[in-house]
């Protein structure tokens, strides 16, 4: 597999503050690469450097084999970008926004027309194509910006929180689009705060915190790697004394989550037996009982915890 994005020692300082701190990674062709991190971790700053919007303080980026410092125009022609906060031109119609984007990327007229029609249809905007964008709802605008990013048929698509603030259906549409694009061999670089979105879509994720990369791997491997986080989740008809449960054999930790109790353990089988015995001896009824493996969210929380 060839690397379509290569990042070496990438760093960005904002007068005294290091927003991105010597990060290194590669993204392979055809992968959906997730970029996760808490607010202010440096995700958007990284995306901006990868898309040539801002210049790094030091380090290098190459995209599709073009060094972004030396051949920014060539590199940018291969990308589609949906920035975190951005807008189409509200004074122009959806159609004119799409055509304008096509002209900026040098897409031939005829191709631009057919692609715009295709994308508008796909994003449910076709019957609004001649309306000014200022009459659009937030979700419609986001869909339009996404459509604009696809006008040049990019090899790599950068999406900075593409589904934030969208309703379930629009968010699904965008996720569906990501899957479709992946199936046609495109590479996608995605930042998101939605862990389930990342674990559904991404081949690999990087977790960034304070401008540094805490881990990069496939979501499942990350879950295994942090280990020790399997848990049994139980709820009873009546409140119980949590310290009794904590005293059970093989329990690494106990956490309350609403009316449910989460028991962290390496031996779920033994814990379940223990819980059944416990409920029997106190004459309690078990309402729910689940074994859970750690989610990407658990991994995320663990890796970005403040010491």
């Amino acid at each position: 597999m060839k690397n379509v994005i290569e990042v070496k020692e990438l760093t960005k300082h904002y007068n005294g503050l290091t927003a991105v701190d010597h990060i290194n990674f590669e993204v392979e062709e055809g992968e959906v690469f997730g970029f996760l991190g808490p607010n202010g971790a440096g995700k958007t700053t990284t995306v901006r450097m990868l898309t040539g919007v801002i210049k790094p303080s030091s380090g290098s980026v190459s995209v599709m084999g073009f060094d972004l410092g030396r051949h920014p125009i060539r590199a940018k022609e291969t990308m589609g970008v949906v920035p975190e906060l951005s807008n189409a031109y509200t004074e122009l119609s959806a159609w004119n926004n799409l055509q304008f984007t096509a002209e900026l990327y040098g897409v031939p007229k005829r191709e631009a027309k057919s692609r715009a029609e295709e994308l508008l249809t796909k994003f449910d905007l076709y019957d609004r194509k001649d309306h000014k964008v200022k009459t659009f709802s937030k979700g419609m605008k986001q869909k339009l910006v996404t459509a604009m990013s696809l006008m040049n048929d990019p090899d790599i698509l950068f999406l900075d929180e593409p589904t934030s603030g969208l309703d379930v259906r629009s968010a699904r549409l965008i996720k569906e689009m990501v899957r479709e694009l992946r199936d046609t061999g495109k590479t996608i670089f995605l930042t998101t705060h939605y862990m389930d979105e990342a674990s559904q879509l991404c081949n690999r994720v990087a977790i960034i915190n304070h401008g540094q990369i805490a881990a990069i791997d496939a979501p499942e491997k990350l879950k295994v790697r942090i280990g020790g986080l399997q848990y049994v989740e139980v709820s009873f008809t009546a409140p119980v004394d949590v310290s009794d449960l904590r005293a059970m054999a093989g329990i690494a930790g106990v956490r309350m989550s609403g009316d449910k109790i989460q028991l962290y353990t390496d031996e779920p089988d033994r814990t379940i037996r223990g819980l059944v015995d416990y409920s029997r001896s106190f004459n309690l009824e078990i309402v729910t009982l689940n074994t859970l493996t750690p989610t990407l969210e658990d991994v995320f929380v663990k890796l970005t915890e403040e010491e």
Partner: protein, 245 residues
Amino acid sequence: MIDQMRRAYAIAKKDVRIYYLKGPVIIFGVLSPAFLFLAFMIGRDLPIDFLLAGLLGMTIFFTSTSVAPVIAPTETQTRNLERLAAAPISVTTILFGDVLASVLFGIAISLVPILLGMALGVTIMHPFILALGIVLAAFCFSAMGLIFSSAPTSMTSTVMMLSMMVKFPLVFISGIFIPVQELPSWGQALASLSPLTYITDLCRYSFQGAGYYPVMVDIGALLVFLAVFMVIAIKLHERSLPKRL
């Protein structure tokens, strides 16, 4: 190169669609030269072709400097800039597009005083020189407009205020209201610093058959101002663009 020029043209088209009818463009670009001119000329007994040259020079000056400065702050505020910055175009391309839109506006509006003059019986003795002068001046003043908008702000009003503070003095020191030859020598020296002097002089040459400076000096001066303004604008905008995101 050719690709970039095409893309600059796309930007100009977008600017025309969005910015020509914006309030500040109309107020500062069309109304203010008209009023300024009336305020100074009414009641003074001056030949019509002299007046017309001044009006024309001022019109080009105000219209061409009114479109370009509105674009950057507006697009900062409406958050369109990040996608432009991510597109395969250089800052120079963006600025050329903005200048082009501004130039077309300046040329189109400057037809008004010309037609007015022709209706009043003024003859154009050197139409080719006049056309060249108008185009050149429109480029020169549009590039100047870009310098005002390089302040990394999203407030159009700040930029407009800044530009007025520079534009009015440039009008007063130029030879618009008083012919350069009638100025004292310090006034002549001052007038030579304003690009407006040269386009007005070219207009006088075109309408009256004689100007103060030789035609080549006027054209040369406008070219030099254009080059200097453009280089400064590009440098400043390259620096300020990342601060706008």
